[in-house]
């Protein structure tokens, strides 16, 4: 929804949030989650705004809100209402108003260190307690700077200064974050500096209503928080689709000629585009892939991308669509060729008319409302499309993976028989029980996979850790490699054991490896593991969503028999373990 993109029309949002909420609740297929907000100041409007932003991401929240400034009591001593609520996420909204011990000028260094430890320990105890008790994901504010400096500029360097003190306290929080997996920082220190600290900490709102930030700043806070949460649940964007003329360079390559484009260090406008290209290129290292969608002759587009001062070269892109088709058609083609949902793209185009046509035909696509080139980076960046929460090493290689896939398609064209093609790939798989190094990737995959996903059950990292350490589950992952490269972990199956039955809770596979018979290799292994545990019957479930039609007959193909189907299309299948026949004959499997 346009109103919920950065930069915001705060006036509109505050007045119309109820209307917006009603409208967003009409959407289908919302993911439902419980969030507990434990506040050290008033949180009511934070809750309202967060609700709206997350609905826009397809996540419907149910809230628990602690009583005013009862975050510590709720966390440490519990509370029946909170216990029963079973939060998936706990957000701790503390601010510098909640710091109780500050140094004064007479304190020795040792005293100050003690104060600092005591403030930190108070928080760390809360986090440990909450994660032990609920296994929930925790999001914690860091501390914003105070709005006055008793020591003036020395406040930042002197150990008695509050700015110095807050920086040290924040560093301790970051260290905790770096050592704990389900713990994320909501960086209000950065947000308040972007917003303007004097405005952010408008004292009117504290003294009147006990809000630790001014109410018009709340959409920025809530949006930032929503980006963390949507990222945890796998709703980040995955790829850029970029226009060329006046987006990646100044000027129109077809009219002005390559030599007259504004790109490179000579003139201010060239510098702006150069920096923008650098910014985009850095995304490749985060696993975000780059594509082009431009109205141009193909040769001109390539010539522009080969501009000697350009940072992005043709080989940095996976798909380049430079033609005269409508851009929404090109968008759909790109999505199809990459096997990605069209809503996983960020489309960057300087032309509002092009943005409009793409936006109105592709629901959920990210389209920043960029204005002038010097603002491109800020506007894209502050929209938080690629918020990093669980970064796995696989992400680093994503561009290569997509390139490898393009090579495989070329090779496939040279075979008449599909089995021969599969054999020629010399595929090797590792299929075995969950290992600690892959848990992060497994959780990520469970949140990202929409199409080849039988039950669309989502697992946070904490959930996966629970499954991994329990004997009540059979849980396997599959890694697949071939002559063109290593695909990494691309399939996960989790089933829970009930007597001599196994019920499959999760069956997912990345669409990168569709039609490679990996699903048969996985089932072979699952059945083997089941036999080792004396399982006689395996039950499989298919729950239809808007996106997983491709697997509606999955269990039929695997040799299961249909037991039951309800009016919504939910299906239950059954397999007698003893009658199972192995199906994989093209992948060499290491257990």
């Amino acid at each position: 929804m346009k109103e919920l993109k950065y930069p915001f029309n705060v006036e509109y949002l505050i007045k119309n949030k109820k209307k917006i909420k009603k409208e967003l609740l009409q959407k289908e297929g919302l993911l439902e989650k419980n969030i507990a907000i434990l506040g050290g100041s008033t949180t009511s409007e934070i809750k309202n705004m967060l609700e709206v932003f997350l609905l826009n991401y397809g996540i419907k929240l149910t809230f628990y809100e602690s009583e005013y400034n009862k975050y510590y009591e709720d966390a440490m001593f519990g509370n029946p209402e909170l216990d029963e609520f079973k939060p998936d996420i706990i957000y701790i909204h503390t601010t510098n108003r909640n710091i109780t011990l500050y140094p004064n000028m007479l304190d020795e260094e040792e005293d100050i260190n003690k104060m600092l430890d005591s403030e930190y320990e108070k928080l760390a105890k809360i986090w440990d307690k909450l994660s032990d008790k609920f296994g929930a994901t925790i999001i914690q504010n860091n501390f914003e700077y105070p709005y006055y400096r008793l020591l003036g500029n020395k406040d930042v360097s002197d150990i008695h200064g509050r700015i110095n003190y807050i920086n040290r306290l924040n560093n301790k929080i970051y260290e905790y974050a770096n050592n704990h997996n389900n713990f994320f920082i909501n960086d209000i220190n950065y947000l308040s500096s972007c917003y303007g600290l004097d405005k952010w900490s408008n004292q009117f709102y504290w003294h009147m209503y006990k809000y630790a930030l001014e109410v018009p700043a709340i959409p920025y806070l809530a949006f930032n928080l929503a980006n963390i949460i949507k990222s945890i649940y796998g709703k980040n964007k995955k790829a850029f689709v970029l226009d060329l003329d006046n987006t990646l360079w100044g000027g129109i390559v077809g009219d002005d000629g390559v030599e007259n484009l504004a790109i490179g260090p000579e003139v201010p406008s060239g510098q702006v585009y150069e920096e923008f290209q650098e910014y985009l290129k850095e995304h490749k290292n985060l696993g975000v892939i780059l594509n082009v969608n431009s109205k141009n002759e193909y040769e001109n587009a390539i010539a522009g991308l080969n501009h000697p001062a350009g940072v992005l070269k043709p080989e940095d892109f996976i798909i380049i669509k430079a033609n005269w088709n409508p851009k929404n058609m090109n968008m759909k083609d790109i999505a199809e060729e990459l096997n990605l949902g069209a809503d996983s793209f960020v489309f960057v185009d300087d032309n509002p008319a092009e943005r409009h046509i793409v936006e109105s035909s592709i629901e959920g696509i990210g389209i920043p409302e960029i204005d002038t080139p010097e603002n491109y980076i800020r506007i894209i960046d502050h929209n938080g499309y690629f918020e990093m929460t669980n970064f796995s090493k696989e992400d680093l290689k994503k561009s290569e993976l997509y390139k490898d896939n393009a090579k495989r398609s070329q090779m496939m064209a040279t075979f008449d028989n599909y089995d021969d093609y599969l054999k020629s790939l010399k595929m090797k798989a590792e299929i075995t029980t969950f290992k600690p190094i892959y848990l992060e990737r497994i959780s990520q995959l469970s949140n990202k996979s929409n199409q080849f996903n039988l039950t669309t059950k989502r697992y946070s990292l904490a959930d996966i850790e629970n499954v991994a350490s329990s004997e009540d589950y059979i849980k396997i992952y599959g890694k697949l490699e071939d002559i063109f490269g290593d695909n990494g972990v691309i399939s996960v199956v989790i089933g829970h054991i009930k007597g001599n039955e196994l019920h499959i809770d999760l069956w997912i596979m990345s669409c990168r490896v569709l039609k490679r018979n990996m699903e048969f290799a996985m089932m072979d292994e699952l059945v083997k593991k089941a036999k080792e545990k004396d399982i006689k019957t395996i039950y499989g479930y298919y729950y239809p969503t808007l996106k997983n039609k491709m697997v509606k007959d999955f269990y039929d193909l695997q040799g299961f028999t249909l037991e039951n189907e309800d009016e919504k299309g939910n299906k239950t299948y059954k397999l007698n373990v003893d009658s199972y026949e192995e199906k994989n004959n093209v992948i060499e499997v290491e257990r």
């Binding site: 505050i14 007045k15 109820k18 009511s44 409007e45 709102y205 003294h207 009147m208 109410v215």
Partner: protein, 80 residues
């Protein structure tokens, strides 16, 4: 600005904030007359009114204002 215009604009703000098209505010309207008007919504209402008229209420004003009429008095003085 005419008092009539102030009330028209106030009325729109109230309808938006409380998402209720049936609201008609008068000089005598108080939080007792509107169901959702609790202390938390009051904050949002104040912010929305400030933004509508491009003014800022100070703490003294917000704490002493007793009804919509008094709110309109302050707006009237400020925007002249």
């Amino acid at each position: 600005m005419e008092r009539k215009e102030i009330f028209e604009r106030l009325n729109n703000v109230f309808r938006d904030v409380f998402d209720d098209e049936s609201i008609v505010v008068t000089d005598a309207t108080t939080s007792n007359d509107i169901e959702d008007w609790d202390s938390l919504e009051h904050i949002n209402l104040i912010v929305a009114v400030e933004q509508e008229f491009g003014i800022k209420f100070n703490m003294g004003e917000v704490t002493t204002m007793k009804n919509v009429g008094e709110m309109a008095d302050i707006i009237e003085k400020r925007v002249k």
